[in-house]
């Protein structure tokens, strides 16, 4: 291995000399404490190293040793329900060793080494079979919620010469061999390693035609995200990015969720961990943590590791995608990662681009988002999996024209724009219906319409009402509400109902936190039915005040609190009451 010496130390950047023979992106051990770093550039025999741990106390002249490896993730059983730092060190194990403060230089295996897992061998496989990457060798029931598939690692092709039978194994036990030709045999284990910066292979990409059901009405109905899609959530501080991302990882209908806290708050991370242990998956009743992986690199932890934390998250996401699962990965916040890039770039004295960000900001963001997708997985049995990526963006001063937001927009399919003004008014989720968009509406409409024939029509109408409200409010601000004709006033009422009784959804309400698709569509149907009927009444000469005084309106406002199983009957009841009360108003007007 290459052995050099520290030449310069400047914050997270270390320059080492005598590093001839090293490669870019190679992992190196820096100093006597062997801090973990990664080479990000070479110049002659000098290596420019971003160090993923605090560099205080390092001395010029201390040794730097190459590892010959790329920065890699350990993938195998024992990954679920755990919290890792950006270098995949398990933070709860670290606590046992060094106490409640993060210390540097700690080396820990990512996956537990002593735990034995119950392996069930794939009975379709025989010794002598040709195997390809992704072929399922067997399974481990890692948690009640997740069957962990043990796959032939990418890059391993050959003949299966040995495979262990059912039994208990640790992640390091050899469970078989593949003869890869040339007299070389590759060991198979429950775990394997994969470089985090390199996308994992798959057979082919599929169109993202299925919506990812999130249980948030405004998203499912108005701005859907497809399974395998990409979404960005920009918003000023306090606009609700973190709550929304956490809500998604709690309720989205996926098999695996990955939550990456990148350069954000420690208390928030602790809160996420606790609530995932406490909250139950709505379908199985099991703790949500059983299908989740957490990566925490909080704002006070070393900045360079923000980058590894997002790539680690994506790599773990792809790994579960390869098993044929639907995976959601959220990163809060991608801006903090971009800022870390800016800091390192400045120390490298690279030519700064816009607002000091490096010129490669865009391509780095692309490398990240492009790893989302719905794919036909490699290997047999045939299966499809998806990785959906949602990234929070924290624009300075909530100004979306800044480089990180603008570059991100080039790669994503759903823009979930959070509006600080809405948040200040406590309209949550504070998703701007005027700025947000989804490029997946047309592709997922088919899925929805198979179940709810009017999904698209209702969506379009609701958005139109909101658009029209926006125009009318301009007039109201000039001349007051009285100047509007009654049908416009009614439209404003309808818009208000859509905003308050449909779009607003309290993430902490025991029932309303999650809204299943049937209820989402049903609520919209009730509100639009009220509006259509009310319009009829108005045309028939019923005074607006009488419509406004209908008691059914207060009941509509309380639909949110109705439990899922009771909702269908409540909905029928509401529709009946709407028709009846409007009809009697019309009857009264005619008489």
């Amino acid at each position: 291995m290459v052995k050099g010496r520290i030449w310069r130390i400047s914050g997270p950047l270390v320059v080492a000399e005598q590093m001839h023979g090293s490669m870019v992106y190679e992992v190196v051990y820096v100093g006597e404490e062997r801090l973990i770093g990664e080479i990000i550039g070479m110049q002659g025999d000098r290596a420019f190293i971003q160090v993923y741990e605090d560099t205080s106390g390092l001395r010029v002249g201390e040794p730097v040793e190459g590892s010959g490896d790329l920065l890699s993730a350990e993938l195998g059983p024992g990954i679920l329900g755990r919290v890792f730092d950006g270098l995949q060190r398990p933070l709860s194990d670290m606590e046992l060793i060094v106490g409640p403060f993060v210390e540097r230089g700690v080396k820990l295996p990512s996956l537990p080494r002593d735990k034995k897992w119950v392996f069930r061998r794939n009975t379709d496989l025989r010794v002598g079979d040709r195997v390809r990457p992704g072929d399922v060798l067997g399974t481990v029931k890692e948690t009640e919620l997740v069957l962990h598939k043990i796959m032939v690692p990418p890059n391993v092709h050959g003949t299966l010469v040995e495979l262990a039978g059912d039994g208990d194994y640790t992640v390091e036990d050899v469970i078989g061999y593949v003869d890869v030709g040339g007299g070389r045999k590759v060991e198979l284990k429950l775990m394997h390693r994969w470089p985090v910066r390199k996308p994992r292979p798959y057979l082919s990409r599929l169109e993202p035609t299925e919506p990812l059901i999130i249980g948030q009405r405004v998203l499912d109905m108005m701005f859907p995200i497809a399974r395998g899609g990409k979404a960005a959530v920009p918003g000023g501080f306090g606009s609700g990015k973190t709550v929304l991302l956490q809500t998604m990882t709690k309720w989205a209908r996926t098999q695996i969720n990955i939550y990456v806290g990148c350069g954000e708050r420690g208390n928030e991370m602790a809160d996420a961990l606790h609530s995932f242990l406490r909250l139950k998956d709505p379908e199985s009743g099991r703790p949500l943590a059983e299908k989740a992986v957490f990566i925490a690199n909080t704002s006070n932890m070393p900045v360079a590791a923000r980058e590894t934390s997002v790539f680690l998250g994506v790599t773990i996401g792809e790994y579960f995608r390869d098993m044929g699962y639907d995976v959601l990965m959220v990163a809060d916040s991608t801006s903090r990662w971009a800022e870390a890039m800016r800091e390192i770039s400045a120390r490298l004295e690279e030519m700064p681009g816009e607002e000091g960000f490096p010129a490669y900001l865009g391509s780095r963001l692309a490398e990240f988002y492009e790893r989302a997708g719905r794919v036909k997985c490699a290997g047999s049995p045939e299966r499809t999996g998806s990785l959906t990526i949602v990234g929070a963006v924290s624009p300075p001063g909530a100004d979306f024209s800044e480089p990180v937001t603008q570059n991100t927009l080039r790669y994503i399919g759903t823009l979930i724009a959070l509006d600080v003004t809405l948040a200040n008014r406590r309209h949550f989720p504070a998703i701007s219906w005027l700025i947000s968009y989804s490029l997946y509406v047309e592709t997922v409409a088919r899925w929805w319409e198979k179940r709810f024939p009017n999904w698209k029509a209702m969506r379009d109408e609701a958005l139109e009402i909101l658009q029209r409200e926006n125009e009318l409010m301009e007039i109201v601000r000039l001349v007051g509400p009285d100047a509007l004709p009654d049908n416009d006033k009614l439209l404003l009422d309808a818009a208000r109902m859509i905003r308050e009784d449909f779009l607003q959804q309290n993430a902490f309400h025991p029932i309303d936190a999650y809204c299943p698709p049937e209820k989402t569509v049903g609520m919209m149907e009730v509100i639009l039915t009220f509006y259509h009927e009310a319009r009829k009444a108005l045309e028939a000469g019923v005074p607006l005040e009488k419509i406004r005084a209908l008691p059914v309106r207060a009941k509509i406002a309380r639909m949110k609190e109705v439990e899922y199983d009771k909702f269908p009957s409540v909905k029928e009841e509401l529709l009946r009451e709407i028709h009846e009360s409007i009809n009697s108003l019309i009857g009264g007007a005619a008489a």
């Binding site: 030449w7 310069r8 130390i9 400047s10 320059v15 560099t55 205080s56 106390g57 001395r59 010029v60 919290v83 933070l91 670290m94 606590e95 409640p100 403060f101 993060v102 210390e103 000023g236 501080f237 306090g238 806290g261 350069g263 420690g266 208390n267 991370m269 602790a270 809160d271 925490a296 909080t298 704002s299 006070n300 900045v303 903090r336 800022e339 870390a340 800016r342 800091e343 400045a346 700064p352 607002e355 000091g356 924290s394 300075p396 001063g397 909530a398 100004d399 200040n424 008014r425 406590r426 109201v476 601000r477 000039l478 007051g480 009285d482 308050e500 309290n506 902490f508 406002a557 309380r558």
Partner: protein, 467 residues
Amino acid sequence: MSLSVKEVRKALSAKGSLLLVEAVPGIRYGEVVEVTLGTGETRLGQVIDVSKEVAVIQVFGGVSEVNTKAARVRFRGETLRIPVSLDMLGRIFDGLARPIDGGPPILPEDWADINGAPINPASREPPSEFIETGISAIDGLFSIVRGQKLPIFSGAGLPHNRIAAQIVRQARVRGKGEKFAVVFAAIGVTYEEAYFFMESLRRTGNIENIVAFINTAASPVIERIAIPRVALTTAEFLAWKYGMHVLVVMTDMTNYCEALRELSAAREEIPGRRGYPGYMYTDLATIYERAGRIRGKDGSVTQMPILTMPDDDITHPIPDLTGYITEGQIVLSRDLHRKGIYPPVDVLLSLSRLMKDGVGPGKTREDHYQVFMQLIAAYTEGQYLRELSAIVGTESLSERDRKYLAFADLFERRFINQGEYERRTIEQTLDIGWELLATLPEEELKLISVENIKKYHPKYRRGGKGE
């Protein structure tokens, strides 16, 4: 230790607070140096960049007047540490933890690195213990919990110091008689401001529970970089070693950020937004993230930083980056202040992110969160109608709208407004809230559950005995 001490006799150049010296083997990144000036005076400094050829030293106290030829630099071989001890309670120090109250030096129980170490996120206990400050706007709407970092965003001339002093005076966790302490850091404030604080702290009669660090407007600018860290190091010592509940008040963080900008300019770094360094978010985070609770430990560190927003602009990088890190913000409003409302809390811009975990049954009252949501929603509506009626007059407003207008006025005068020495219990605060909500039609209270309306709405309580 003394073996590792190295000395350099020649400085290459000096600029502002930076000193460049020829490197000698073995200099540590971040280590402390003692710079002895030509005059014989010694100042502390820190290595902020080092290569085989040059070391860059940031000198506390500045080096502009240094005769670079005559300066001597001693490298101490360790990072900046301060002595910490329980005896610090009741004492006053400068920004580098040197006593300035005329008292004896501190006998250290320990030496602590002023940069601390990040709390392992997996070891944190989510903060959830409600602190009753006795101030309705805060307790009712933006509740503070132990271990939270909640700043006050203020403006020049607004009463942030009075509010902070009132909080320090009145704050308590109900039903608990635990050990608490206040750590106060004055950062580049005027002597009067620092004095005001010390006096009002003294008047609580708990001076022996207070540690003060003071860097006034006249003290060296560069020490402002160290003082929040020094204060927090002391707070952590009291919290994690002695299980104390420590409230850290730091004023004015704007001066800290200005010092950071100055330093960055001296280093000729590429400036970020409005001249502040690109790493200001991370730098501030290493300060604010030192609040919290740790599983299995008794104490807590709660932070209340105070900052003045330049031009009252909340999008200015200082409040903006702070808001991105802290767990909410109490924003003061010049408008309310002009109307004579104290404390002039801007209810729409303020937020406590940890409130939801600190309120509710068993903590405050079951209706608390819903009353909070409804009050804010109603006030928002009232504010909007105020603006509207300013243009179109009140005549075109409906009966309902007028009720909201009246509500907004009442809310400011009855709920937000209170005496500087008035302490309201959370029940009193919530009951005032209900009294105001009762002026609105009942069907407007959409954010409150039917059960809570039946239980707490004055209409239903009047006849019976209430709770």
